[in-house]
Symmetry: C2
Subunit: 731 residues, 2 copies
Amino acid sequence: MAPGHRSLGGGCAPVFRLLLSAWALCLAFVTQPAVAEDGYDLWLRYQPLAAEQRAPYTPATAQLVMPTPSQTLAVARDELLRGLNGLLSRTPASVEQVSTAGAILVGTPRSNPQIAQLQLGLQVLSPGGYVIRRRNVGGHSTLVVAANDDVGVLYGVFHFLRLLQTQQPLQAFDVSESSRIQLRMLNHWDNLDRTVERGYSGESLWDWHKLPDYLDPRYTDYARANASLGINATVLTNVNANALVLTPTYVHKAAALAEVFRPYGIRVFLTARFSAPVEIGGLKTADPADPAVQQWWKDKAAEIYKIIPDFGGLLVKANSEGQPGPQDYGRTHADGANMLADAVKPFGGIVIWRAFVYSHEQPDDRAKQAYDEFVPFDGKFRENVLVQVKNGAIDFQPREPFHPLFGAMPKTPLAMEFQITKEYLGFATHLVYLGTFWEEVLRADTYRPRKGSTVAKILDGSAHNYARTAIAGVANIGSDRNWSGSHFDQANWYAFGRLAWNPMLSSKAIAEEWVRMTFSNDPKFVERTVAIMMKSHEAVVDYMTPLGLHHLMGRGHHYGPGPWVEGGPRADWTSVYFHRADENGIGFGRTKTGSNAVAQYAPPVAAEFGDVKRVPEKFLLWFHHLPWDHRTRSGRILWDELVYRYTRGVETVREMGAEWQSLTPCIDAERHAQVAAFLKIQKDEAKWWRDASIAYFQTFSKRPVPAGFAPPEHSLDYYKSLEFPYTPGHY
Amino acid sequence: MAPGHRSLGGGCAPVFRLLLSAWALCLAFVTQPAVAEDGYDLWLRYQPLAAEQRAPYTPATAQLVMPTPSQTLAVARDELLRGLNGLLSRTPASVEQVSTAGAILVGTPRSNPQIAQLQLGLQVLSPGGYVIRRRNVGGHSTLVVAANDDVGVLYGVFHFLRLLQTQQPLQAFDVSESSRIQLRMLNHWDNLDRTVERGYSGESLWDWHKLPDYLDPRYTDYARANASLGINATVLTNVNANALVLTPTYVHKAAALAEVFRPYGIRVFLTARFSAPVEIGGLKTADPADPAVQQWWKDKAAEIYKIIPDFGGLLVKANSEGQPGPQDYGRTHADGANMLADAVKPFGGIVIWRAFVYSHEQPDDRAKQAYDEFVPFDGKFRENVLVQVKNGAIDFQPREPFHPLFGAMPKTPLAMEFQITKEYLGFATHLVYLGTFWEEVLRADTYRPRKGSTVAKILDGSAHNYARTAIAGVANIGSDRNWSGSHFDQANWYAFGRLAWNPMLSSKAIAEEWVRMTFSNDPKFVERTVAIMMKSHEAVVDYMTPLGLHHLMGRGHHYGPGPWVEGGPRADWTSVYFHRADENGIGFGRTKTGSNAVAQYAPPVAAEFGDVKRVPEKFLLWFHHLPWDHRTRSGRILWDELVYRYTRGVETVREMGAEWQSLTPCIDAERHAQVAAFLKIQKDEAKWWRDASIAYFQTFSKRPVPAGFAPPEHSLDYYKSLEFPYTPGHY
């Protein structure tokens, strides 16, 4: 596809300046030969620092005092030595007591007697929390990494290495960190045949056929990467579950993975197919009220815990998109979840029940359904049940307002489900940093119970005193060499982990950390790459679904634009259901005159979203059906504003590509080239989205493309004719 | 599964001696730190030689005279420098003329004027052939790598590097090499959704979704590896073909791959679905006699060649296992092949028509079918058609006698189809070196037209003066980091390529080359590892299908033993059809008193195979149905001999595992550990095959397991109850 015709603003001139100055820019900062890198090492590269960067750290890392009475402490020590060896080309002397200046003292008060004697502030830490301190120990300047538990030590070691990797001054080695959320988990939508639903990075990491006998070294590196972020749980299998994973054969395979992950503080969960008692148990029913079914699950839990003593529990998708569930037997979500909760309770297990449901009936507005189905059961779930809620009420769209359930279930711990894999955001090839979007959601104010009760405060339990807290990310990890399908998608894994640890973090600060560790500490490179990341999410929203439009992608595979999708088994699986465009206007009316979904929010939020004058323009057509000549805040009419935003999205991607080109000399050629090739694909696909969307909506608006903007390159029929039978991730 | 109870011979004692002496054995030979290696570099590792090993080569590699007026010469030069840099830590000075002792002079008479002036013996070379010589050039001792064509230079460079990698003395740098077979090709059974039929090494390498825009650097490394062996053609897609690959969208994707492969002398082929004119052409028929169908294929060929000017041609599986074909319209294989041949002929293309067919009717003996269907058409095919024949008449069984078609079609060029991927040989985890098996087939004497007309001589065209010659291997290559799923399966890719270049080579010499380049030149390591490889094929035959038994694997997925498989759509898709065991005996009678399949061979061969006294015992039950108490050559009765051989297979695998353990210090830990883990799996699965097979056949023989041999560990019902719904490669 040829590039669009219009350049917005003066974008190009600065880009050319960038290109001209690039060599001068970066050469001074390239501190080591740009060796070929393939992304396998993620943000744990530990490449040697230049001599002058190493200088401040060298005197501070002369000896190491770190007894390792546990597997977790042993892997923490290995990681510390690996990092110091890589970054500083140095292996500190291992000693039993601090005996010289420049010692590193690591452990818990139990593992390391010298730590027990220091005042480090350990008493305020939550489980897994840690401190990093500079202390005088026996007259010697010492760096201390300490925690109350072994896994906290491991997390502290990774933080310590991060300070080195990002070249923080020694004064910054003064940290006290506690996670705000107890359970920080990845959800793998991985099938037993190694396909990955909505996976864009190769096959499933889990080589079920060779498990439990062969343990791929990648399993360990996966655990290291997660532990470096504080991720402490992983659900191995798809929520569209296969009952076979609960048979002993597969539980033994899962146990082998649990064994690898255990030293890294990661517990294994599995997904439970609600009809498993029938499918693998030989029962005639899976009715949760049936004593035989209850007993079957109790026996199954006992069997699993015998094989995996620290098994985390079960994640369940029930009565949604064709999955079986308690409603098949006239029971409620609470009935189903509580039966499973009772089964795992004796072993300390939990049940995570997904709120992403929709009934067989045609809803007047699918956005309302989860709220309607779950709020009545607030307080009816067992204490070891969490309800896991997607960030928005539809389905991981490029942008959604926060889900109205957050804040609406004060007696039921709600967990967040973010999607790290980019099902609706350009698969592996589009550079879209999700940190900004997640930050937007986490900082949204639910006004429940009061102003300031952000989604983050619902999740960390502070708003409603939840006893259990959790956050989940649908993983983007596969067998691709770079794990995530693209180098920049590693940033989304990273950002998820960091926000799971502390949902109050700034997405920009996270991006900067990640860029420094993953690519380079070169200040200009960092500044410009972070800038690319920070505008990337807004760009994809612009070229796919501007102004609050949503659910406009190709049917089934979700690849590319499909605003014309209609018909089929369910209205709410089409695009026309969501955009509601006709000659008079466009948008889903969710105010009182429409579905009144706004009423599910707290009154101040409902008032804002429901008022066309006050609603943030990014959500305009999410809540309001408006005429094509509606005047937007820019002064343009709605149609013109849509064309403007579609075009702006394409233009931003073009700028991102040019800016990335300007950074060519700053990093290794192999990773730079892949990113550049993907940005070219993104540019072409952004234009495809823009052109196809404009061509389609123009059939309703019957208005010309505004002056100065290029018309779509092809006819609407052309765009509708495109077929993609073998897109990845469509299983 | 617990280990078997009986040890054959004195296997264990030497193994323990090995274990004790291992450190002493190898430490002296470990010439560089055993860094972590993951197998990605295959046999092109170019790890630094130790100083004393480098010494003889250093004075001989001081300068390089190698103009690069073509892409192929440029990649040859890159490879040479990469190799010298890695092996010798040396970059020779690039100069225009030999001007000092120790020059390397590389090129063709056209690319390099100094080469044109030397007498090198180039006139005897076939296309792609090359010489490596030591010459005095202008008074300076010089190493010359020369050919008549650029790709010959590339092949010569790889051979030159192989001499260094295997540490050959400089006297050995005197080589004249010409391939005996024109077309040396890989067949990928890769689907457009990236699954691989019978693939055990991850997904397809071809990332169709990102093609043609993104060119994974692996595509280049794939081309390098193939060119290093002389492989010059690749069929990208599965013979169970999808017509979509012939649409412009996919041809453009294939063209991007062809572009990467072109400098390496590799041409791209695609598979043609015979019904494509209907499926993607909109015609009502694919009848090869229909002029519209003929025209459709002509237009299609023109379209493909416009996009890929050096497109190789089409590979076709027709009227076999449900694939469409000319017989659907009452036409013959020749009719179908010739129509396609006429379409590609104007562009220099060829058609490769597979002889692996079976009709819808129940055959009296499937082994006879290809011969019966194809021999009548000898001489009826266009000159640009080759018929591709599997090595044996059934289907890539652990061992088969050579296919009776070889020698039987003097007027039709026959190509060999070997299977590199181990569909019936333990998938990725069993260590089975196939070089010995292929050598056995290639050296088999067809007696057609006369004694000494081995299969190799049929293939290289010398027996029947074929104008075209070809050999194909069904690839075992996928997205796994080590390409082939296991390190030792790389040896099968390697051996296939080497035998394709020269089918007269010794499989043992190939194994030794491969071990030296892939692992280590340590003499003891080489000797012992080659010994493991050389006995590995006999071992798998023993534990799966001894004495000529065949087709006894699990249904569909082909994983593990399934001698009890019966029923279903076709008798010849069952095990009982092939083993024919009953109370009276076992084996498929293919002599005159049976199906008389032996009559398809030349009379001397038929006489040998048909005579129970003369038939090689390895083919005993392939050709003869014999009573359980038949006396075998060991003196044991048939039943006891079967138990003995099953047990011997397990025992050999146990020895292989122990021997590999003894080599622990000789190579890097990562690759050693994976091989060791897989040998453990192989040992368990070998025992499973043995025990299940004995348990099953015992129900017919009604004889006890002979004294000293362990009975099966589990009941027959247990083995029959095992299910494997998600085995890899079953698509």
